[in-house]
């Protein structure tokens, strides 16, 4: 019992070290890499364009729900006028970076983990190595670089459409004056809120994309599993670990910045 626990702990620490090495090597491999352009365009499509619809839909509904719930809670204290403040701060500081990151993990992260896992499984990664192409540079670096930019953009879009959603439920469906809503939004959000939003989004982007790539990359090391099962297991693991990592780092960043 104690022994298993010890083994697991050691395994987790070793994997954490391996993960850190993997991530830093992937970033450093990007320096001076030839012909990164096409890979970056593809990664932007994969993480940006393909994920935008789901981010917008989730953002709109989050805003709608926030507007409704917020309105009724605030109405109890007679302060519906603060609805804009509530919606905008909740979105920028918390919900937009977190939920957008979770959506990108679900849409793009899982796909990337599966794709890299299959490439590992069919010896394509070994083939890259024998050609003298660093597979981290080819497969991972562009995705990490793109995540640094794309996740904050998703968070921004999420916030904007969420604010519109809050307006719709607060002012169109319910009876709050539109001008009051938007002016309290304007007054509430300061540069430090936007900064917190972007810091979170960048960190989530790096952490989740690295987790997804790392799990796909090491699909052949899943104990007791090979082939298609190893790919599916590492894909599931990539999504679960990324989601946990988003919420855990969210807590850490929030407590550090507040």
């Amino acid at each position: 019992m104690l022994q298993t626990l010890g083994h697991r702990t050691l395994g987790a620490v070793a994997e954490l070290g391996d993960f850190a090495l993997f991530t830093s090597r992937s970033f450093s491999a990007a320096v001076g890499a030839p012909r990164l352009g096409r890979r970056i365009v593809r990664a932007v499509y994969e993480q940006g364009v393909r994920c935008l619809p789901v981010v917008l839909i989730v953002g709109a509904f989050t805003g709608l729900v926030l507007g409704l719930q917020g309105y009724y809670v605030l109405a109890r204290f007679g302060s519906e006028g603060l609805l804009g403040t509530l919606v905008s701060l909740t979105l920028t500081r918390e919900l937009a970076p977190v939920l957008a990151a979770l959506m990108v993990v679900g849409q793009a992260g899982s796909a990337i983990a599966a794709e890299i896992g299959i490439q590992r499984n069919s010896e394509q990664i070994d083939a890259l190595e024998t050609m003298g192409v660093d597979p981290r540079r080819y497969l991972v670096s562009p995705r990490l670089l793109v995540a640094v930019v794309v996740y904050p953009m998703h968070a921004a879009f999420f916030t904007l459409i969420g604010l519109v959603g809050g307006y719709l439920s607060g002012s169109v469906l319910l009876s709050l004056e539109g001008g009051i809503y938007w002016s309290s939004v304007m007054r509430a959000v300061g540069p430090e809120d936007v900064r917190e939003c972007f810091i979170k989004a960048v960190v989530f982007g790096i952490v989740t994309m690295a987790i997804c790539c790392h799990n796909g990359f090491n699909a052949h090391r899943r104990p007791g599993l090979t082939g298609a099962r190893a790919v599916s297991a590492s894909t599931t693991r990539a999504v679960v670990l990324s989601s946990i990592a988003v919420l855990a780092t969210d807590y850490l960043i929030t407590s550090a910045l507040v």
Partner: protein
Amino acid sequence: MSDQVNTPGRTGACAEALLVARGLRKAFSGKTVLDGADLVVPRGALVCVLGKSGTGKSVLLKCVAGVLRPDAGEICFDGRTLPAGEGPERAAFRRRCSYLFQSNALFDSLSTLENVMLPLEQTTTMRRREITERARAVLRVLELDEFRERFPSQLSGGMQKRLALARALVTRPELVLFDEPTAGLDPLRRNAVFSMITRYQVELGFTAVVVTHDLEEALVAADRVALLDEGCMRFAGTPAEFRASADASVRAFRDSVEDLRADVAANRAHQPSRRAPHEPLEILPK
């Protein structure tokens, strides 16, 4: 030669051959596959590695190519011992060596042409047009140019093999490790592949290690033949020596057709009346 011996990192014994592997050992979770295998590949030669299925021929090539890390043993390339891990020496080796995977390991989401272009795109500073031209030239030689927009999954098995061959040759390597380049090809193409390897060898001047099960073709095309059996090299020498060898495992391998002929004759001798095609087999339950 003497200056080579004195240079650090060079060893006299492996100075003449392009590739020397000595005492390679590799075990998978306790099961020994390579048990001190040696392989000497003279510069410019075509060495065929023969052996039964599952004896570790692919493992041997993977150890040389650096896909697998051998548990023990030494690999010298061009007079220098290759270090086990990654590093500049290994990177230089990879630029000069190509490996054709038994499974082809094609990039399945890239088109035929992109597959061949990728190694040049990622490892050279050549211009895109130049790369395209060179890739298409190789594809033309291998009769694949008209399929260049197709994806590997849309090619037949033999075409995939030729595509993998094209990808291995496009970088103009000095050493090419072919793992069963003729598996799954018809006899005409099989001969064509061997003839192409020998022709390209003269034109491009590469050294080749070919793992194959095609004994006849191997004995015609190879400069040297090696037989891997139970983890080590049972035989290494010229095709003529292979034909003349009296070693038991060489004999078993070389004369398997004779053995088959004898077996078939013996089997039929036990069944005097040959069964007509429509008659039910006796061993099936009535």
